[in-house]
Symmetry: C2
Subunit: 377 residues, 2 copies
């Protein structure tokens, strides 16, 4: 089977790029002497995750309990659920643990810690906990130095829970304007958790795990002393947002959407394809970057970008391809039925619109496998 | 089962609002003397579509062949596939027709018409065709008056295909700034296809079907003389984009995302919930409207909006709730574990992130049913 025989739209994964991306991240973290707990929310696929983990390793990060269920069913047991827990998920988490998941969770406040302690008392399940630290002000977590950290730690330990450590996610690194800014953010991320771990230990509380993670900071971190593990997700696939901040090159991007030309509006310079926002997602992450890529960069069926050709607009099942504003390139000849591959702004969002990966290798167009992926909660 | 017992996030559908929305559109089109061929791409659910069709009716519009497969399996046969066809889908379409689907397709150019004629000759399947007309310059279609219409019509009829008529979609109506503008757009949409039908007939070509459709124009159309059917989709659920252009009220919106509070950043006025863009979609359709609703309007668990509370930002599984900029309201007390319901910018995009509807009725929080929905291609 070749790409040209598929019904469009569908999601294509270049396994050679995936392997290269994983090898590069592994080599970098090995040099820094720190382990990897990949965030599987990007791919939601056991086939991708098997290529990310080394033999016998099974530590992963998940964003939903559905992912925890799926990876447990495939034999992966050491799982961190990295979204602040709510009381309505505790029974499910304990059920997963009774079925063999070594599932840990995160929280950032005394109310959630009290609910967890009550659950531990009632169920007899002392679910391990990492306390979330806010390293960059972008979302959740306790700001370093805030005495709330010790209050949460004591609520957990006195309540019979297992305080396992601290974690943070430098989500603001996605908005960095330079590699220097990403390197500074990596230090800020590291210091936030290392100092929080010190504060817990100084108060006599346990903190064996010190966890950081975002693909930009993981890529450019130069010293992770005091950190025990890195969680990163999108590095397996990369995307245009990552390319826009200098974390990868265009030819590192391992996923693309295969589409077919359905028509033209020649007076407007438009090529219409059967891949719209349902196939690409509504993510417009490059809109705030220096180079706005619309809904994606258009390549030929072998993955080579057409100069200046982007998906300029999208409806549910229609994409409008056009040259970038101001381009002097010529629109390529793409008759009705021609196929293109479109690199996405945000791999997590685009892959989530699909139920499987059509796997190719490098510039070949032969499909070597179809890997399913999961969705939902 | 009540909403409060569900794991979050999940998608809630208010059946009373759905019924009211359908009844209102039906009454309006009945008064105009025109039929409804609902676009099932919004709900992708046989349960919703059964409540949209009258007994014995089965004419629907689909956006994917996956929808055609699903609705055929549920006994709905009269199906228009309303995305310009590509040659790589013709075998699948003929296979669907051999299995009982009365499936018609659309196209807007001679190349696609030639491919279809070649397929009809080779397969013996004269797939019925509507020619797409461009009524507003927003996407695909032949501009009214363009001689390409007759060339396409002749290519089809001489090639042994069934030319069934013309269709258009006034997608630009989503950007109208007033009800008067929508009414004008409804006339423009109608005239584009009625005049194109006249041109075909004047050339001796058949044109029994004259099809229009967008929820704004369908809602405000006052005279559809010459039109045989209306395709509209989002009216079953409505959303904040539709409310923003005056096509519905907030309390007509039938779908919402149920989420739980996981924490607070009190100094910033943020409430963090476990429903991010994966649950809401990345659609920011209200960003270009007068009132930007962020990622959605936040309601209590019974569906009543909190004054000025919106989802101001979203990560994959995190939503940041905050008061609108400049609001004088007070942030509601929502302790960890509290549930909220968030009205979406775009119902088609948000529903697509979920695999089922949790059905409630009016302000009750009891779940009467769980309706599955499909995804993919």
């Amino acid at each position: 089977m070749k790409l040209g025989q598929l019904e469009t739209p569908c999601l294509v994964l270049d396994e050679a790029r995936l392997e290269r991306n994983v090898a590069r991240m592994r080599a970098h973290l090995d040099a820094l002497g720190v382990g990897l707990r990949p965030h599987v929310k990007t791919a939601k696929s056991i086939d991708v995750t098997r290529r990310t983990l080394r033999s016998k390793e099974d530590a992963i990060t998940v964003s939903t309990l559905k992912e925890a269920e799926y990876f447990l069913a495939h034999g992966v047991r050491d799982i961190l659920y990295a979204v602040g827990v709510t009381p309505n998920k505790l029974e499910h988490i304990t059920d997963l643990r009774r079925r063999g998941a070594q599932l840990a969770l995160i929280l950032d406040n005394v109310d959630a810690a009290r609910a967890l302690a009550a659950h531990a008392g009632a169920s007899g399940d002392a679910i391990p906990v990492l306390v979330e630290i806010d390293c960059d002000g972008h979302r959740s977590g306790i700001v370093p130095g805030d005495p709330a950290l010790l209050a949460v730690g004591r609520t957990l330990t006195e309540g019979g829970c297992e305080l396992r450590g601290v974690m943070t996610h430098a989500g603001a690194s996605y908005n960095c304007g330079s590699v220097a800014a990403i390197k500074a953010m990596a230090l800020q991320e590291r210091d936030a958790v290392v100092n929080s771990a010190k504060a817990l230990r100084a108060a006599g509380l346990p903190c064996p795990v010190v966890s950081v993670g975002s693909t930009p900071t993981a890529t450019y971190a130069e010293d992770l002393a005091g950190v025990t593990e890195v969680r990163a997700g999108v590095f397996v696939f990369f995307d245009l947002v990552m390319a826009g901040i200098g974390v990868c090159a265009l030819d590192d991007i391992a996923v693309s959407v295969l589409g077919s030309v359905i028509g033209h509006q020649r007076d407007k310079g438009w090529i219409i394809v059967d891949s719209g926002w349902m196939a690409m997602s509504r993510d417009r992450g490059t809109a705030r970057q220096k180079l706005d890529q619309g809904y994606g960069v258009v390549c030929d069926v072998f993955g080579k970008p057409y100069p200046d050709l982007i998906m300029a607009d999208a409806n549910q099942e229609h994409g409008v391809l056009a040259l970038r504003p101001g381009s002097h390139e010529r629109l390529p000849e793409l008759p009705v039925g021609s196929m293109v591959r479109i690199l996405p702004n945000h791999a997590c969002a685009t892959a989530a619109q699909h139920q499987a990966y059509q796997v190719v290798r490098g510039e070949a167009d032969a499909i070597s496998a179809t890997w399913p992926r999961i969705a939902g909660w």
